[in-house]
Symmetry: C2
């Protein structure tokens, strides 16, 4: 269908990720419009050549010309936006998103959507501990994973276009997962790790530990700086899967604790050997 | 007492840390001898200008001339070494170490030690996921913490020399803690984090997760590559403290799990805000 540079791309939500999409795509020659809440973000983006035009309202005349719309919103705001404004979308438009949870969002959107537009979900697994279009940078996509999560309702051409979008923006690894498999994976590699980092920082006991931390503690808690509004929403939207992952982690952690309590050095070493062998796979890539 | 370059330094245990000490100190002009198990490590170290001379046995004539002896051994091997060979040490020699746990080692050594030599304990909080003198590199000390853990038995001059040793080798932050405070701190910032990383890799379920991991998972599990022989010994030598730290972490993790299970978004966000604020302190430094 598209992805030639004659097409109009609209970014809804010009934050860190929306802004990084805009930068990556405009550099490729696409015309980029944006809708976002704050005029100052639009002013910044125009002054810095990130977008061609921007609006603080979802104006019908802007929506009517967009052939690809990227939603870079929090999940619930995204669903509400579709409810309210989908009527203004251009027939034949392709919609995609950047939402960090899928099963709880994708089916809901696809169910309510007009039959003459298509929503193909994607998750760019990239981010920073800072926010806003001012910090946007398409380099965060390099070396990162981009996952398309199609359902039965998606056309082959939309899936193809969405994969191509990820490749064009410079993602290192572009792949397909079902919404459920995506949520399971993200529950483990991202949400669970954030739960761990948050819990670890919450048991910090008020002493000046930062004077004594090595790299391991810094690395492990880097993600403890967390956007609580966004992440609490993402956690709750992936509740059952994340609870399951947390329980699996708890079981292993308690098993390790038991080896220490009982002095079972052999089982302790066995767990360390397993972790060493599994982690080594990551560094081979 | 010392730390002028006329003094003979002996490194016992020429691995990653022992080798890095040797490199740092020889570059400053000290004469460096080493005792280590394998002749090939000695050959490598001599060929690469890391040491002046090396021996696979604790020869009396080598021990008798060493004015500063650095023990870079596993804790139990260190204690056994002192039992067997302290009789050959030069009167007035200063001994120090690099052991990662303190209370279970320092008092034991000081109690059994000859009265005419002094042991001042230190912990260079630096490391890599690779081992051996072949990987040694004093750059790992830059930006790292070096902690001296004196007891009542230590002289002011030994404490001063030991602090100076850390500074000379390029440690960023050189400080003093009691053995008990050290173990509490290291239990939290290092051992607990390794327990978490090991547990997390042990719940990895066999799928090709490495295809989907973002930086957060990589950062969090980097330390899951662990020398099981060394770390199991260190964990068990700091058992009560580490169990206590593990329980504190478990309590916070279970609290967070509860907020997810019950949909208590406010408490969840509160925990995230606490972690964000505390972690931010680390990045200010």
């Amino acid at each position: 269908m598209m992805l030639d540079t004659s097409k109009n791309i609209l970014i809804v939500g010009l934050g860190l990720i929306g802004g990084s999409y805009a930068k990556a795509l405009r550099k490729l020659g696409f015309k980029i419009s944006a809708i976002t809440l704050n005029q100052e973000d639009i002013d910044y983006a125009i002054e810095n050549g990130i977008i061609d035009e921007g609006f603080t309202e979802p104006l019908p005349e802007v929506l009517e010309k967009a052939e690809l719309v990227v939603f870079a919103l929090y999940p619930k705001v995204f669903v509400e936006w579709i409810e309210k404004y989908q009527k203004f979308l251009k027939p034949g438009a392709l919609l995609t998103d950047v939402t960090g949870v899928k099963a709880s969002v994708v089916y809901k959107i696809q169910e309510m959507l007009r039959p003459d537009v298509e929503f193909i979900a994607a998750h760019p697994m990239a981010g920073k501990e800072v926010y806003g279009v001012q910090n946007s940078d398409p380099k965060i996509f390099h070396g990162a994973n981009y996952i398309v999560t199609p359902t039965e309702k998606n056309s082959d051409s939309a899936i193809k276009d969405c994969l191509e979008l990820g490749r064009l923006m410079g993602f290192n690894n572009v792949s397909i997962l079902s919404p459920e498999k995506h949520d399971e994976m993200i529950g483990f590699v991202s949400q669970l790790t954030h739960c761990i980092a948050v819990s670890l920082m919450n048991c910090y006991d008020g002493e000046k530990l930062q004077d004594y931390t090595g790299d391991s503690f810094r690395d492990l808690t880097r993600i403890a700086r967390i956007n609580d509004e966004m992440w609490s929403e993402l956690f709750l939207l992936n509740k059952e899967t994340l609870l399951d992952q947390m329980d699996k982690f708890l079981a292993e952690f308690e098993k390790l604790r038991k080896t220490l309590e009982t002095g079972d050095r052999e089982t302790m070493r066995e767990m360390m050997k397993v972790s060493t062998a599994r982690r080594a796979l990551f560094d081979k890539k």
